[in-house]
Symmetry: C2
Subunit: 341 residues, 2 copies
DNA sequence: ATGAAAGCGCTAACAG
DNA sequence: CTGTTAGCGCTTTCAT
């Protein structure tokens, strides 16, 4: 079965291909009667114009690449997927394909995927922190890009990120509102921007209530590569101080999972002896024991916002970076209320 | 900066576009000296032929769509991601784009994504169970497809799936080898094929040792939609029988997670009082307490096999369905050894 | 071994 | 308002 072309439709409708093209593209300059006729035939025949031809003449690929980091942790992968769903939904409205690619893990020999080298993409969306030389190269190729959930040092690139300061503030305040004043803090500091945000949110909450804590309760050596062990060690250090905190705020749910494991291993009950809050609301958080109270980061929203941004950029419009509100507290079982009822 | 074309390269090399096309496509009929010259210039200029043109003339999209179910559980998403990585790796070798799409959740009004309607895809890969009328429609459109990790009722469609019978057998044998003979079983039966496989693996292990169990220990009403509650209820039913099993085999890790939760809630210690094994090795399994002993299903392998299949089908070759070996036991902490040391 | 030319299916001047 | 026509950048037949 031969594929229909615009010519066939034109013949069937008794008009020229131009006219058909016009109605397909919703352009003015066609009498409403012919337009109606053409539309009817298109519907009847279930005709779709060849994307390949349009790509060629329009010099547009109708592809948007999403690039993820090879060898990212499974938990990050889960994020990716949530983000991807946001992207996908939006992409449909605009007629773009979402094509999935990856780049080597941090530190490995870097190379762009073929789709980018061939410029078979109208825009690219990076997931999470991306070295700026990569972003530079993309820019050099003249391809618009936006990065999702990174913590950029400057505003040279478009991004959509979560408001981690607000998240940290909300998490810490929840502890305070439950009567905690002896609050420890576990975070990473590999991304300066992330660290700054999360720390200042934490501090703001404490300062607002005039709470002070020993510096040994601030542990900044968790990191994503050795997630589990690093956060575990942070918790051990906190537990080895003379005064024990009644609660610990973890910058990321994964750290909380490890820290809780550590606390239990040392004979503490959670939340009876020590309470925990995290940020992210990863799927795991519902399954650890006790289920983790946390701040939900809306990855799907971030995905659809990023999609809107990249499309604007492709269309040559100016875009503002966006920071999505991140104060959605999910109360589960990891925080004990110290207040008298 | 204007994009280079095959014409430019031809001019620079002092040959005709035809020749350039020939060398790009590795076709014979070019003297090795001119070939060398052309190759050199291509390298120098970093030239890549326009994919759009090739698509048009070759009538090939160089796209392979992967279609996932909208609203699938986050756990499935994680599977998807692993599969996607397998696909991705392979796709690079063949120069296809992997484009990500979704279809409505089971039961919702069905519609194909645009990329398929437009036939802007050379093949499609479905993730997990897919209604056969959908597969039929794709076939009608003349687009090759393969489905991954489904449990097809017949062999009309190409698929790659895990050997769940073997997995079930291996899991159950592990229990038996640890001295268990009172073994309960939690599964779903919504997919007849899956149920049959898993049940016969379980039975085979039991029969081999002449073990018999009360039928009330066989609970088949777990299901993926209400994962958590359904498996929990299955476990409650098992616990309400007069004789308690010393172990339970769960057809899927998720069921094990819920069943363990249930056992603990009823005051049983795991694995001291009751042992558990699952199948899948989802990420969660390492994090529940105790960490779950399970059979690993290699989703990434399934992805890359599916990619090889779809490419063969696109090239008009015959393909055999593949069943990937699934007896990789991952021993963790959820099984107690009843045997004297 | 190389080149000229046609054409894939569409869009967009331009002419009528 | 409608039609003619010239490409987009490649592949491929057919001459040479």
């Amino acid at each position: 079965m031969e594929r229909l072309t615009i010519k066939d439709i034109a013949r069937m409708a008794g008009v020229s291909p131009t006219v058909v093209s016009f109605v397909i593209n919703n352009k003015p300059g066609v009498s409403s009667s012919t337009r109606k006729k053409v539309i009817e035939i298109i519907k009847e025949t279930n005709f779709r114009p060849s994307l390949s031809s349009r790509r060629l003449i329009l010099k547009k690929s109708f592809n948007i690449s999403i690039v993820v980091r090879k060898g990212a942790s499974p938990f990050n992968n889960l994020f990716y997927f949530e983000i991807a769903q946001g992207l996908l939904e939006k992409s449909k409205e605009y007629g773009y394909n979402i094509v999935f690619t990856d780049i080597p893990a941090l530190g490995d020999k870097f190379e762009f995927p073929e789709i980018i080298k061939q410029k078979d993409t109208d825009g690219v969306i990076f997931f999470q922190d991306t070295e700026s030389y990569i972003l530079n190269e993309i820019e050099n190729l003249g391809i618009p890009c936006v990065v999702i959930d990174a913590h950029p040092d400057n505003d040279a690139y478009s991004y959509v990120m979560a408001d981690y300061e607000k998240a940290a503030y909300t998490a810490t305040m929840h502890l305070i509102e439950n009567g905690h004043t002896d609050i420890a803090f576990i975070t990473s500091c590999t991304s300066p921007n992330f660290y700054t945000q999360v720390f200042s949110g934490f501090k703001k909450a404490l300062d607002g209530k005039g709470i002070s804590i020993p510096s040994s309760w601030i542990q900044i050596d968790a990191n994503d590569e050795r997630n589990e062990e690093s956060a575990y060690e942070c918790m051990e250090r906190i537990l080895s101080t003379k005064n024990k905190p009644t609660a610990v705020f973890c910058a990321v749910d994964m750290y909380a999972a490890s820290a809780i494991k550590c606390a239990k291993a040392h004979g503490y009950r959670v939340p009876e002896d020590i309470s925990f809050v995290g940020i992210d609301d990863i799927i795991l958080s519902r399954y650890i024991e006790p289920a983790l109270t946390t701040i939900r980061i809306d990855k799907k929203l971030m995905g659809s916002l990023a999609m809107e941004m990249i499309i604007k950029k492709i269309d040559g419009q100016h875009v503002e970076n966006v920071i999505v509100a991140s104060d959605n507290l999910i109360v589960r079982d990891s925080v004990r209320n110290l207040r008298p009822e």
